[in-house]
Amino acid sequence: MTVELNERFARLARAVAVERDKSAFAQLFDYFAPRIKSYLLRLNMQPQEAEELAQEVMIVLWHKAGLFDPAKSSLATWLFRVARNRRIDALRRDRGKDLDAEDPSLLPSAPEAPDLVMDAQQRDERVRRAMSVLPAEQLELVRLAFFIGLSHSQIAEETGLPLGTVKSRIRLAFGRLKKALEDDPRIDTDD
């Protein structure tokens, strides 16, 4: 996550949306599809299934890039959300439940309350500063536990650390991360 990379991705997404630019899309595909697949594999999805779901996410990007708003989030964050939500949908379909019907009144540009609006770049910088507080191995634990969503016992297995150590380290690391965020209060932009 660098500002330059984010800006480049935002430009490419715009070229996809406005000009239906296939080569711009291919660049985004080559960067994101293998990472989305990697994320899904970490969650124990079968390779074939992970690739299909990654493809589904990229199909969303190809057709709906115009709905991505770089002022609200980075492209990585948007695609993470789409991937996560597709995965939840797939799990629900597997269970034969369709409890959450699609919202027909989809209005992505619905105004956010002014006090909630923060420029995505500022948010990303703030979040990056907070994450830099943690030593690499602590950050890795937090990533595995909270953003990849592995259970404590899966992490213990993977790292070879005792379960109790994993739990206390994760709690400590996440506490530090939260404190760093709180100590670096957001600055609202004038939208």
Binding site: M1, K22, F25, F29, A33, P34, R35, I36, K37, S38, Y39, L41, R42, L43, N44, E51, Q55, I59, V60, W62, H63, L67, D69, S73, S74, A76, T77, W78, R81, R84, N85, R87, I88, R92, R95, K97, L99, D100, A101, E102, D103, L106, L107, P108, A110, D115, L116, M118, R123, D124, R126, R128, F146, F147, I148, G149, I170, R171, F174, G175
Partner: protein, 223 residues
């Protein structure tokens, strides 16, 4: 105790962001975010971190890249289902009005507060039992002002979202939009406040979980 409680709510938010909560707990957090604007900032920060984590992963090779690209270029947009959650942390719908349910919860439960088919469990304590969903026991509760919930019969971890009124337990006071997390070890004997009934939504780790589910127990939050 209070510190532990805050940690637990934080983990709940993070697991919501990661998409690894059982469905009823996912809906509970979504409803909390509708009611509590303040919590959305933290969740948005967590989502930005998740996006950063996605970028940090070692890429997994895509087998037939050119074929996939071709298929994407030939795909039709009408098959795409997007949800509001793809775009933002909370639901881009109107804020719930006084006395009505958060929309995520209303969709899930199928009733607004006024229409819930309550059943009286004991004087001053009504329940709408939704049964087991995604490995959790799910219910709504209605407590008469001043009513204490009798000793719990559940095993495992319980999370509740207060929708109306307030209750207190050994851990603190919970008003509309607040989440309480309790497990067997915690002195959890909620008492509704005296000025009005307390209505809420409760999700409990079911005593018998379906095997093979790789979702985590809510109890994992307490770690």
């Amino acid at each position: 105790m209070v510190r532990e409680h805050i940690d637990t709510i934080d983990s709940l938010m993070a697991r919501y962001v990661a998409g690894t909560l059982p469905l009823p707990a996912h809906v509970l957090v979504q409803s909390h975010l509708e009611l509590r604007e303040g919590a959305r900032t933290f969740v948005s920060d967590l989502e930005a971190m998740a996006g950063d984590t996605l970028e940090s992963l070692a890429p997994a090779p895509i087998a037939a890249r050119d074929d996939l690209l071709d298929r994407i270029f030939q795909s039709k947009p009408d098959s795409i289902r997007l949800t509001p959650m793809d775009f933002r942390t909370d639901m881009p719908r109107t804020a719930p009005s006084e006395g009505s349910m958060p929309l995520a919860l209303r969709d899930f439960v199928g009733f607004d507060i006024a229409d819930v088919p309550w059943r009286t469990k004991m004087p001053g304590f009504k329940e709408y039992d939704m049964g087991e969903i995604d490995g959790c026991h799910v219910s709504m509760f209605w407590l008469r002002p001043g009513r204490a919930v009798p000793a719990h019969t559940h095993h495992g971890c319980e999370i509740s979202l207060v929708l109306k009124g307030a209750f207190s337990d050994g851990m603190g006071r919970y008003g509309p939009g607040d989440i309480s997390v309790a497990d067997d070890d915690i002195d959890h004997r909620p008492v509704a406040e005296s000025h009005g009934p307390c209505i809420g939504f409760a999700v409990t780790d079911a005593p018998l979980r379906l095997t093979g589910s790789f979702r985590q127990l809510i109890g994992d939050l307490i770690g």
